[in-house]
Subunit: 150 residues, 2 copies
């Protein structure tokens, strides 16, 4: 069994356990994101899906499904580009920490890490001092990956 199937199976199982369903369309969206192996916007996903899987799809459906997959913590939404990417830690059972994304501005490849908790604490206490309470932290950093640098 390849890794895609491992993930699909995992997601299917977890959906069931939570009383949700991984419908064929939802599975297709997830497969598309896995296959693309980079962040895609809703419209990019639409194109990708139609090009590579010859499946009928609609933007509305994609937005709804992405929202679902995000709620279930299978994908992340990058707030800067409004793109979506499969969570790198999707197969980890435990609670994920605060994610940090390194985003290649050329090829859109994503490197997802967990922010060092100590650093996160520092960030939050600093925010508190400035009169802010952090919510839904997520850090996105633009860059260029080694493959895209000449």
């Amino acid at each position: 069994m390849n890794e895609f199937n491992t993930i699909i199976d995992f997601v299917e199982k977890h959906c069931k356990a939570r009383g949700k369903k991984l419908t064929p369309k939802r599975k297709l969206v997830l497969q598309t994101l896995l296959h693309a192996n980079k962040a895609l916007s809703a419209y990019e996903l639409l194109d990708y899906c139609q090009t590579h899987f010859k499946q009928p799809m609609q933007v509305m459906t994609i937005y709804r499904i992405l929202e679902f997959l995000e709620q279930e913590h299978f994908v992340h939404k990058l707030k800067v580009s409004n793109q979506y990417v499969v969570c790198s830690h999707i197969l980890c059972e435990d609670e994920h920490g605060t994610p940090q994304f390194l985003i290649c501005e050329k090829c859109n490849k994503i490197n997802e890490q967990i922010i060092d908790p100590q650093m996160m604490t520092g960030l939050q206490s600093n925010a508190q001092q400035e009169g802010f309470t952090v919510v839904n932290p997520q850090i996105e950093i633009n860059g260029i990956c080694d493959q895209c640098v000449e």
Copy 2:
């Protein structure tokens, strides 16, 4: 002389020194951002400007002027919300460091700081390890400000 005028004068002077001009429209956009005292999108700026200053303005012009003001480092663009805000360190002559923004998701008030250089170095060397070179770093963190928490 109030602070707005201090800033306008400063900007005017610096434009001249760089062979650029702070035209009436550009001045108006800057004044609007100063007056609003929060981050505004291009369309929000359009509304605000028309409401408070009764001046004719157009979206295209606003986008162009915001781009200009950003290039000249007088305003920052928040990448998550595509909003613009006057640089808090606009009157500092020296090079500004990597900015970090705390953004109130209720009232859109912005707190701009300089990221601790040591932390920034850490971030960058970590990125390097992961095969990424950081470009135009800027960190945006959503939260709620003390005034908006009940």
